[in-house]
Structure formats: structure tokens, C-alpha cells
Amino acid sequence: MEHYNMNLNLKVWRQKNKNDKGSLVDYKVSGISSEMSFLEMIDVLNEKLVADGKDEPIAFDHDCREGICGMCSMYINGRPHGPWAGTTTCQLHMRAFKDGDTIVIEPWRAKAFPVIKDLVVDRTAFDRIIQAGGYISVNTGNAVDANAIPIPKDDADKAFAAAACIGCGACVAACKNASAMLFVSAKVSQLALLPQGKPEAQKRVLDMVAQMDKEGFGSCTNTGACEAECPKEISLENIARLNREFTSASIMSEE
């Protein structure tokens, strides 16, 4: 694809702190290369803001910039992580846009993800859901032979696909109900599918769903927006598994 430069009109959410009301602020950036990543474009704008000294640079989350850490989180033109399917914001490149485009950039919006500053939101609700049961208890000692327990290939593949979730929160951002069920279902599935996850499966799903509800995420209405926007393309099949695991655990649980 041919390289080109572009001038863009940005509308970026600026909010000083979590108590500030915040608003969309207009910025113009020029000479943006089509080969820059979206975050590099924000870097260019931030350098300009620092050099001009009029405005503070825009606060945004990022870490690996390789699409695997789950830190970047921008809601771009009405879609989490922007227009490309299966892509995080850091891997979205400016060739997705044309010269003269207007781009609206907002933070994830959810009661459970309060804005800390500008485009940075507090996603520790996800950490607390994991702490509630998204793990397996392992005894210390010698490393066990990796193939000691036979696991069907299909199950291993499905568990691996679920484990691809990077916990970025795009599912919550995309969902009209701000539901975290795609995230929770991926974290429940990756363990529920494997023999190592079975001993704690019942308690895990009950505790993780209880924590999810407590954190203030909404309920799933099966619109499928989360699956369509997930940068790791986590399947809705996992939400069905979560529903199954939760219902059967609720019935079978003796507590």
C-alpha cells in the first residue's frame, strides 16, 4: 500500500481527574504518516502539546505496543480499538484513516471502569474478578510431566483460544449493557475445559460471577457486540459455557 501523509481533526476526551466532569476537546494534527500506529499519532500530538506548553499532554494507557498486553483502551469513532477487526489500538495503523478525517477518541465508558484521567480508566475490577477464582491451586514440588494427563486436542484448542483474552475490557466498552461476560467467560472457560481446572470449577464460576455482579457490570443480552469488537476474537461460545457452568454449579452446589 502506498505511503501517504494526512491532516486530521481530533476530538479527544479530556478529564483532569475522576471527579472532573470532562469534555471533548478539538485538536488538529498534521503530517501524520499512514504507517504510524494510532498511539504514535497520539505521541506526535502530545509532543506538540508539551512543546506549545499550553495544554497538558493527553493521558492514555499503553505498554507493550505489540497487541498482547491489553493495556491500550481507546474508544475510537464509536468502536473500542477503532475500525479494524481483531486489532488493539496500538496495532491500529493510520492507514485506516484518510486525509481530513475527524476522529473522536473517548475512554471506555462503564460504571465499573471509572475514568482516572483523560483516556485512562480504572480496570482493577477485572483483577478482583480474577482474584475471586480465576486461578488453580497448585501444590509445590517437582514439575509434573506435561503429558501425564491426556487432554483431548479440541479441549486444549478451545482452552487456548479462551486464554488468548488479554483483559483489555473492549467487551465491556462495546456492550450496550457494559457487561463483562465475555471476559469472565473466557477466564472461566480456559480453566473449566482442562482437567487441572476441574477440582475448583464449581466454586470458581460461582465466585467469579458473584464478583462480576458486585463490581457493577451489566447483564448480557446476546447482541454479540463484544465478540465482534474483541481484539483477540474470543467466541460467544464461551458465554454459553459460562451460563452452563454457572447454572449447573448453582443447582449442584450444597451451600
Binding site: V104, F217, T221, I239, N243, E245
Partner: protein
């Protein structure tokens, strides 16, 4: 998890919506089946026999109570979920590109459901109340077929009915497969079949209701 917590959990509530939804779908099968006898074009004889059976049978009376309970649970749960879910995003987005990731009717179930409820109130006051009065109070001879025919020849009744069937179709188009997903029934082999059955059901059932109404309006059935 304590026993009482299941139906107050997000998944438990969804399950109630899905189960009552499927129950209401099963009622639609009976309703459209009976109505379709109008298309036999036998001056309403079969339809009146079926309607008489439905209105003079204690088994059906018991089921009617169950149906009402199912409908009320469906409405109460979806309203609760709707307002709860709305509160989960206190600050709205400035721009939302909804069509990029989901179907409009899957995002508009509350609106479609409300339209359906308005239609239901209209529909019940047109026919159900009338039949109840005739059976239990006035003991007049009923001719449900003539009643339906008379109503459907009025454009101002026909149009809200057609709009009701339209809402029903799109409500089912999302609701039918969605109920199975909520029950946890998602399978590589069966989900495409469920989705196809759901689409067929959402077209055929409201389509038949609409065809009957239009046939009566245009005098194709006498």
C-alpha cells in the same frame, strides 16, 4: 452460592427471561395454528370450533394462568434488566457505531417488547375481554370468526396489528436464538440449526398472522 441468590444474579435473571421467552414461543405455535384454520375458508367453521374448545375448557384455563404468569415474569425481568443495565453506563458515549458490531433489533429488544406489550393490550381488549364477557357474563352465542373478520376489515385496527406482527418478527429474530445461548446451548453443530429455525419461525409465524389479517381485509376469506 446461597439458594436465593441464583435468581438475583445476572445470569439467573437472564435464564428466567430466556425460559419464559421460550414458553411464550410455545404459546405462539398454538395461537398461529388455530388462527391458520381461518385460511381454510370454510366460513370460519373450523376456527369457531377451535375457539370454542379454547374458551370452554378448564385445562386451557389453567394454562392461561400459567401463560399470564410467564408473560408477567418475562416483562418484570426484562424491565429490571433494562433499567439495571442502563445504570451500568452512567456517562454515555458521544459517538456509538452500533451497526459495526451488532444488529439493530438485538439492541432494540426493550423497544420492540414495549411495542408488543402495547399491541397485546389492544389485542386483549379487542378479543379476549369480549370472549370472557360472552362466556361468563352475558352468555350470548359467540361467533369469534365474524368478530375477527369485522375487526380486520377496519383499516385503523388492521394497521396497528400489522405493526404488532412486525415488532413480533424482529423480537423473535433475536429472542429465539438468544434464549438458547442463555441456556448455555451453543454448539458448533446445532447452533446453526437453531439460528436457522429461529429465522424461519420469526418469518413464518408473524407472516401467517399478517397473511390472515390481510386475507380478511381484502375479502379473500369469507
Amino acid at each position: 452460592m446461597a439458594k436465593e441468590a441464583f435468581f438475583t444474579s445476572s445470569i439467573g435473571r437472564k435464564l428466567l427471561v430466556g425460559l419464559t421467552g421460550l414458553f411464550l414461543i410455545s404459546f405462539l405455535v398454538v395461537h398461529v395454528g388455530i388462527n391458520s384454520t381461518i385460511l381454510i375458508n370454510d366460513n370460519g367453521e373450523t376456527f369457531n370450533t377451535a375457539a370454542y374448545f379454547m374458551s370452554h375448557n378448564w385445562v386451557i384455563r389453567v394454562m392461561e394462568i400459567g401463560l399470564l404468569a410467564g408473560l408477567l415474569i418475562h416483562i418484570a425481568m426484562t424491565l429490571k434488566l433494562y433499567f439495571d443495565n442502563k445504570a451500568k453506563r452512567p456517562v454515555a458515549y458521544a459517538v456509538i457505531d452500533g451497526k459495526a458490531n451488532s444488529k439493530w433489533y438485538s439492541r432494540s429488544m426493550a423497544l420492540l417488547g414495549t411495542l408488543l406489550l402495547i399491541f397485546l393490550v389492544l389485542h386483549m381488549s379487542d378479543f379476549w375481554l369480549h370472549t370472557k364477557k360472552a362466556v361468563y357474563i352475558t352468555h350470548e352465542n359467540e361467533n369469534p370468526f365474524e368478530e375477527v373478520k369485522e375487526a380486520m376489515t377496519k383499516w385503523y385496527i388492521l394497521i396497528p396489528y400489522l405493526l404488532g406482527f412486525f415488532s413480533l418478527g424482529f423480537h423473535l429474530l433475536h429472542g429465539f436464538p438468544s434464549a438458547f445461548q442463555t441456556l448455555g446451548l451453543n454448539h458448533k453443530k446445532y447452533t446453526p440449526m437453531i439460528n436457522a429455525a429461529g429465522t424461519a419461525f420469526s418469518v413464518v409465524v408473524p407472516g401467517l398472522f399478517g397473511a390472515i389479517a390481510l386475507a380478511l381485509y381484502f375479502g379473500l376469506v369469507k
